[in-house]
């Protein structure tokens, strides 16, 4: 009797908390769409076809092309993941296999510390240290490249720690089996351990990508925020996230609504990427 009562209580508590999280997500998405609607009605395809991003409070007076910022966000994320993906995986492999125990432990602490540094601190460092270095090489310093480097640093811990955990979970039997077959360490690693840890590694990659796409402050501080399609790594760019943060303070009416469209666009891009990743990993139970 007593147990059933407790069971019921637990069940209600679980249902309630699940419902709360679900409802909040739905509310946010709903708000995003609701607030976007005026701009979507007034500008419509203009978000993709207008000549530039020169927003105005009245839709007829402005230009609202978001595509350069979509391109900026994608370029930033692509570059950051091209760096952080392999680096994170390799550092996890180093920790799990070749590093002596004390070094692996120390390295993990350092990576965890990296994950804990606030993004504004990364931004500050990027602005004060990294951008001037790039400037010496190629003006103006604040650029796509600076953004990529800072973002790579920021998402590296996610990639490294999740890959590390995934590799640590590979059963010892696989390694022993490979050893007993006279397979070299390198081959065991690449052909057995990494495929066995694949789903964890991919999860790490997706989460890191999500973080890169959504990062705002550090990106805003180091990329220069010029709305344009990047033609080289040294061009300043503006990300969708920065766009919202930069203009929210003074945006009104249709302009304000257009910023919600920026958010909607960002959500769409993330959703598409996650869907794509799910599609790639699904249906392949083994490597």
């Amino acid at each position: 009797m007593n147990t059933t009562w407790k069971d019921r209580l637990l069940l209600s508590a679980l249902r309630l908390s699940a419902a709360i999280s679900g409802v909040i997500i739905v509310l946010i998405a709903g708000l995003l769409v609701y607030e976007s609607l005026p701009a979507l009605r007034a500008v419509g395809l203009g978000f993709l076809t207008d000549s530039s991003w020169h927003p105005a409070a009245q839709a007829e007076e402005g230009a609202f092309n978001l595509l350069p910022m979509v391109a900026g966000t994608l370029a930033l994320t692509l570059g950051a993941m091209l760096l952080a993906g392999p680096l994170g995986l390799l550092s996890a492999i180093f920790c799990q296999t070749y590093a002596p125990l004390w070094l692996a432990g120390l390295y993990r602490r350092v990576i965890e510390l990296m994950a804990g540094v606030p993004s504004v601190v990364y931004g500050l460092w990027g602005l004060m240290v990294l951008a001037p270095i790039i400037l010496k090489w190629q003006a103006p310093g604040v650029s796509l490249l600076a953004g990529i480097l800072i973002l790579a640093l920021m998402v590296l811990p996610t990639m490294a720690l999740l890959s590390d955990a995934a590799l640590a979970k590979v059963p010892l039997e696989y390694k022993r089996g490979a050893m007993a077959l006279g397979m070299s360490r390198a081959r065991t690693l690449w052909c057995v351990s990494v495929p066995a840890a694949r789903s964890g590694i991919i999860t790490g990659f997706i989460l890191a990508t999500g973080r890169a796409l959504g990062e705002t402050m550090a990106v805003l501080m180091v990329t220069g925020n010029v709305v344009q399609y990047p033609s080289s790594l040294f061009d300043p760019i503006r990300a969708l996230t920065s766009n919202i943060a930069l203009e929210m303070a003074y945006a009104m009416n249709d302009h304000r609504s257009a910023l919600f469209v920026s958010g909607l666009m960002l959500t769409l891009v993330v959703s598409i990427l996650i869907g794509l990743a799910e599609f790639i990993t699904k249906g392949r139970t083994h490597a």
Binding site: E173, L181, G182, T285, H286
Partner: protein, 291 residues
């Protein structure tokens, strides 16, 4: 042969433990063993330590070529450690130390300069729990082959088909070679592991309780397979199942913990060990198992 022995074990429960006015353990196999083939592996005064703890001490044992040697004994008597010393897998355990001599075809496998990975290809090993890689059935077999230098697709396919036939898995898997090996049943997985080892054409196969995680039917299939392999290979099987030792083995070695380390108590031809053991320990162990 095996049928007779089983009857002996189950029927003649008066197996003599008293009339053994015989032999020192170390000489048991020499005096009692029927004429057997040349020695494939020779172990002399082998001791294995993990840190300061001895797992086995002073084991001397010959493994005759083309025969099945069963190693029996209670848990913790160092059977698996001994097996691991035969292909140097024991070295993967932290702080392990091996002393004594293990020779294959007269060559010390612990000599400096021995290529361990090449050695392990000549001495295959099957583990207690089936451990196919989480890859396709095909890749489980071709992975190590490629490493051994068999790179041509046609050669790999040929060997794949041969070894899967050998373990009786071909008809069951020919249509799903690219499916995950983890979708196979436990018994099939263990046979795949054996096929994977056989693909490298080893000279010796070490089996560490290969059936203990399997159901009786799978066990029977694996046992039949092991018997069939006797012609091609030298086999060593660690088992807790005395009936299995009796059904399969040509010679049997009993390990026991003495003075905190595993020792070889008795080694001899299967019939002798089961029906006329020289040592009291052997007799009581076998009687105990008989109930």
């Amino acid at each position: 042969m095996s049928d007779n022995v089983i009857t002996d074990i189950n029927g003649a429960s008066s197996a003599p433990a008293e009339n053994n006015a015989c032999c020192h353990p170390q000489h048991a196999h020499i005096e009692r063993a029927r004429p057997s083939g040349p020695t494939k592996m020779a172990v002399e005064s082998l001791s294995i330590h993990y840190g300061s703890v001895a797992a086995v001490r002073d084991i001397t044992l010959q493994l005759p070529k083309g025969e099945i040697t069963a190693i029996i004994g209670p848990s913790g008597s160092g059977k698996s450690s001994f097996l691991g010393a035969l292909n140097r897998m024991v070295e993967l355990a932290p702080r392990s130390r091996v002393t004594g001599r293990v020779a294959m075809d007269g060559n010390d496998i612990y000599a400096p300069g021995v290529n361990v990975t090449a050695l392990r290809r000549r001495i295959g090993m099957i583990f207690q729990k089936p451990n196919p890689f989480p890859l396709s059935i095909r890749r489980n077999i071709t992975l190590a082959l490629a490493e051994q230098g068999v790179r041509r697709k046609a050669d790999q396919e040929r060997i794949l088909e041969t070894v899967l036939h050998d373990v009786g898995l071909w008809d069951e898997t020919r249509d799903r070679l690219d499916k995950s090996a983890l979708e196979l049943s436990g018994g099939q997985q263990q046979r795949l592991c054996i096929a994977r080892a056989l693909a490298l054409n080893p000279e010796v196969l070490l089996l560490d309780e290969p059936c203990s995680a399997l159901d009786p039917i799978s066990t029977e299939i694996i046992e039949e397979l092991i018997v069939r392999l006797r012609d091609q290979l030298t086999l060593v099987i660690v088992t807790h199942n005395l009936g299995q030792a009796c059904r399969l083995a040509d010679t049997v070695a009993l390990f026991w913990v003495q003075d905190g380390a595993g020792r070889l108590i008795e080694h001899g031809v299967c019939e002798q060990i089961f029906n006329q053991p020289c040592e009291d320990l052997t007799a009581s162990y076998i009687r105990g198992r008989k109930g």
